[in-house]
Symmetry: C2
Subunit: 346 residues, 2 copies
DNA sequence: TTGAAAGCGCTAACAA
DNA sequence: TTGTTAGCGCTTTCAA
């Protein structure tokens, strides 16, 4: 490998060594256009010998493609988000794409920066937005520059979005509890802040309501607590629910995320309540720690969701990849019953 | 804003509107070279009017700078790593840099890909390696292409590395326990797998040993358990330590990370042992949940570490930014005493 | 199937 | 302080 030249080996050097033109090298290496087997062989060999790696900048400038996908997300530290990111990044890398990360954790200014300066032009071929509701202006600019974009976990009008059926997921968890003969089933849902960018909390609430209604149970306000999708939040919310007088206390709690469910389990313990003896608890996600906590949950598969999002983009980015479009098939989810749920003590 | 042109507004259009040359536009917008106040004004105004954003590809090709920094890390889902990433990304973004993420979570093949294909040339101006020991070959290529690189949390020979003094941190936590009159202090350290890429576990073990030795205590093998830095691992390890016959059971445990300490706290509870009544537990990190669990810990500040790593790179990347070099000042850490530690019951 | 050559949009050296 | 201009390294059209 030639080193230290600052700019690296150029395509011209490969062409010279292989005894072909730069155009042929480009074709051989990119797979676009026809190249004889013999020529391809010699090019590959020469490239290997010289340690040639294409210059992204030059390639992008000439072709208009960056081989770079932007991923925008509101949190990095939470399980769901880092899992989606992981799944997407891995798939993209194998397809030869870089991932540029835009984390909106900070202030509003950052969001504007991301959309106006970074994503806007020429830096990425496509965008994956995770659990983010885009404003009309943001959508407008994405559409204007004609970059494909998909949403994961968030509802983006007019944009292919990968999301589980949140209503159905919540129903499933709640129906599991009803099936165990629970009659007073509380919910720890999202608070208003977490609903802002992302209407999932509201849907999970509706799923819970529907399941209760179908069973002839009353989804009374006293059974609803709100939290911010963190362990701490779930803990506090569960204390509220479980601190109610005995006759009002739920015998089961559906938490809209596993992290909140963990908090609820800890709250129950701290109150001296046995899980599942005194209270059953179910979550959503199948977090890495769900098994450890013995938490019954409805699994979703964020790594796969990230990878699927990439597949959809790749189909638009590289016409060669044209499998049967799986874009709008609903995403899988699955009830996993563990130790945290059981029939109520009678 | 002009839209839909595919390639976006070019510098030539801005130059025309502002009545100057493209060179002046470039200078005005990048801040390099002298431009009269009047010209700068007109350029800025024109650029705003046209919605001009520089083409990264063209700029990189011409200048050799990508305004892109690669961050390589072995995990995304763990608190320490996502926090470093968050800190670095935010700082970089404000400096106008993109972050390209390379997660080595997958198989070995990926590691080779990252170093040979992606990082090697022309895609990034600098590299931040988080808790990763680079091989000689990897270091060699980084050096050969002359890209600045820093390590965070991992020891990289010959490379500026931001890391806390792991020996001292472990000593501090252990001395805190000794100061409370504990005499049998166990440790949950890293297992061999986690030491592979990252000698932190070994250092924390040594800190514990030194603190015990200084106090005339015997760091006997029975007090040592190993885990993989996860909650689950910490739980299992703690069960081993705490399951010992009463006379051998430690009255305190130092866990080399907060996540393992959480596991240890849960293990103690499951054994019916009171924390801190029967056993005190201390960790390292000040994880987001440490406050919630009431865990005594030695805080480190990964977000700041990420940001500091960026500062060091920026100093090399942009000669204008020349503050007094803070490169090798030791990183701060801080004992935070919470509910999980107390004097042993007598 | 191959090669020649015209850019892609910008930066930086040089000249003025 | 400003403008002219020669590339940066690649892709892609066109012609052969």
């Amino acid at each position: 490998m030639t080193i230290g030249t600052g700019r690296g080996v150029s395509i011209a050097e490969v062409a010279r060594l292989a005894g072909v033109s730069t155009a042929t090298v480009s074709r051989a290496l990119s797979g676009r256009g026809h190249v004889s087997e013999a020529a391809r062989e010699r090019v590959l060999q020469a490239a290997r010998e010289l340690g040639y790696v294409v210059s992204q900048a030059a390639s992008s400038l000439a072709s208009g493609r960056t081989r770079n996908v932007g991923i925008v997300l509101p949190f990095l530290g939470r399980w769901y988000f880092s899992s989606v990111l992981e799944g997407a990044q891995q798939r993209l890398m194998h397809a030869g794409y870089d991932v540029t990360l835009y984390n909106l954790a900070g202030h509003d200014g950052e969001r504007a920066m991301v959309f106006e300066q970074f994503l806007l032009r020429q830096r990425v071929d496509a965008v994956i937005a995770v659990a983010l509701e885009l404003t009309d202006a943001e959508l407008g600019s994405l559409r204007a520059i004609g970059k494909p974009h998909v949403g994961v976990g968030g509802p983006i009008p007019g944009v292919p979005t990968l999301m589980i059926d949140d209503v159905a997921v919540a129903r499933l968890a709640t129906e599991h509890l009803i099936g165990l003969d629970h009659r007073r089933i509380g919910i720890i849902g999202g608070d208003r802040a977490s609903d802002l960018d992302f209407h999932m909390p509201d849907k999970r609430l509706r799923g819970w309501q529907q399941a209760l209604a179908d069973a002839g149970l009353d989804p009374e306000p006293g059974l609803i607590a709100q939290a911010d999708f963190t362990v701490q939040g779930g803990y506090a919310a569960a204390k509220q629910l479980l601190g109610a007088p005995r006759r009002d206390r739920p015998t089961a709690i559906f938490a809209a995320s596993d992290e909140m469910a963990f908090g609820a389990m800890l709250a129950a313990r701290d109150l001296g309540l046995d899980v599942p003896g005194d209270v059953s608890i179910a979550g959503v996600d199948d977090h890495d720690l769900a098994e450890f906590f013995g938490l019954t949950t409805v699994a979703q598969f964020p790594r796969t969701q990230g990878a699927r999002a990439v597949d959809i983009l790749l189909m638009q980015l590289e016409p060669s990849v044209d499998e049967a479009a799986p874009a709008d098939t609903p995403l899988p989810y699955e009830l996993r019953v563990r130790r945290s749920t059981a029939r109520p003590r009678t």
